[in-house]
């Protein structure tokens, strides 16, 4: 095998990893807030997925390029500033060229900043890999997220209003089940999805088969992966068990 081929496969690896093996929506279960909030229609889901992809690729690129310059102690604030800058840029681009999507996504666009996937990838991948690999990782993760959102969005739109991307697909006799495009429907669809994953023992963060799952990292979306969060979680769990023990003692 030639040198060139090897390089190609090693560049493809992080892409495939993000797209399939560690798909952020279906396997890692990251970015739950946007997954539920903007999947009420396929076009919203697509807009959100592509915006996140753009931010993810750019921030991975810059963070990876600066990984030897940013001091370790202030890396989190530095990442936040970088990500927030790209989010602001994406926000302006959407406002200028896709005002419809901008209006319907509303507050969820600036909230891309606190999406676990982006800072998670910065911390877990970009700060220890070369620029090329980090871009591919960003693309893979971003498209994986986009596809995940699009599938959920299309499913909800089809059941909830009988359309996909605005095209009528169901026969006239089908009465759309409106609840699927409303807030409760989002919870039910995700519940069904995770139940299916449990049933067939598919790899997913929600049934513990992905060890580094930090879905429930205690609300700090920002540092889900690997960083401050895990120590916090330990603290929380020890406090929980300590209070539980105290309660037991009182009962005795």
């Amino acid at each position: 095998m030639s040198q060139q081929n090897k390089e190609k496969t090693s560049l493809l690896k992080p892409f495939i990893n993000g797209l399939i093996t560690e798909n952020p929506t279906f396997v890692l279960m990251l970015g739950l807030c946007p997954t539920l909030a903007v999947t009420n229609s396929a076009s919203n889901a697509l807009g959100m997925g592509l915006s996140s992809t753009a931010v993810l690729v750019m921030s991975n690129l810059l963070i990876s390029a600066l990984r030897n310059i940013i001091p370790d102690k202030v890396r989190m604030p530095a990442y936040i500033v970088i990500v927030a800058s790209f989010v602001t840029i994406v926000q302006f681009i959407l406002q200028g060229y896709a005002p419809g999507i901008y209006e319907s996504l509303g507050i969820y666009i600036p909230l891309i900043v606190v999406n676990c996937i982006i800072l998670g990838r910065a911390e877990a991948y970009a700060n220890s890999h070369s620029v090329g690999l980090s871009i591919m990782d960003g693309l893979g993760m971003g498209f994986g997220f986009t596809i995940g959102l699009f599938l959920i969005g299309a499913f909800r739109e089809l059941l909830g209003s009988g359309t996909i991307l605005g095209f009528k697909l169901t026969p006239a006799s089908f009465e759309p089940i409106a609840i699927f495009v409303l807030a409760p429907g989002a919870f039910f669809v995700l519940a069904a999805l995770t139940a299916i994953q449990n049933k067939f023992k598919l790899k997913s963060a929600t049934n513990g088969s992905v060890t580094r799952s930090n879905l429930a990292c205690g609300g700090d979306c920002l540092s889900c992966h690997g960083s401050i969060c895990e120590s916090n979680r330990d603290k929380l769990e020890t406090t929980n068990s300590v209070t539980a023990k105290n309660d037991k003692k009182k009962e005795d």
């Binding site: 604030p77 900043v113 807030a183 609300g219 700090d220 889900c224």
Partner: protein
């Protein structure tokens, strides 16, 4: 005054932060196993959101608007919130160890919860002044406290129930949240 009460009820129940706007969902699912922890988390969120919405509003009105820098709001808000929470944590640790023991763990957790940033951004978008911002923050956080406590209560009761195997864990929690969302959806029929 009437308007403020209305704003509070709207932000707490009609457009509940978790159940209809999906903000702060990770902690909603993650920290709701026990009522005690859920209440602690809820109170910490109330505390942080109120302070953060006041601070973000002051920064927005007195620094960003006069300097015509409102496009920097996302960056500025998240830094202000992160710095503020760290600062408050240090102060509480020094002057009120009791309060720190009760809220400390949670404070570190919610530095950048999406709900906190979401409130600050909504305040700026709607052009609320300081008092409106604080009331809106208080309402949102109260809605969070109510819903996470309810969910924790239901989950404690569900612990001994016979849940179908594939629905154990995450799916049943999501179904519960969905049913709660339906219940809260009823508030949107309120003629306010």
């Amino acid at each position: 005054m009437g308007k403020l009460v209305l704003l509070f009820i709207t932000s707490a129940f009609v457009s509940n932060v978790v159940l209809s706007r999906f903000l702060g969902l990770c902690s909603f699912v993650g920290v709701s196993k026990k009522i005690k922890t859920a209440v602690g988390m809820g109170l910490a969120v109330v505390f942080v959101i109120v302070i953060a919405s006041a601070a973000a509003n002051l920064v927005f009105d007195f620094i960003l608007v006069p300097l015509d820098l409102t496009y920097l709001q996302t960056i500025v808000f998240i830094l202000v919130i992160a710095a503020l929470v760290q600062f408050v944590e240090m102060i509480i640790k020094k002057y009120s160890p009791g309060l720190y023991n009760a809220l400390g763990v949670y404070l570190a957790l919610i530095t950048t919860n999406c709900a906190v940033l979401g409130v600050a951004l909504t305040n700026a978008k709607e052009g609320y002044n300081l008092i409106y911002s604080i009331v809106y923050g208080l309402g949102t956080a109260f809605g969070y406290l109510v819903s996470i406590t309810l969910l924790a209560g239901i989950r404690e009761r569900m612990e001994n129930n016979d849940v179908p195997k594939s629905f154990q864990g995450m799916p049943i929690v999501l179904i519960t949240a969905g049913l709660m969302a339906i219940a809260f959806y009823g508030f949107s029929g309120l003629k306010l």
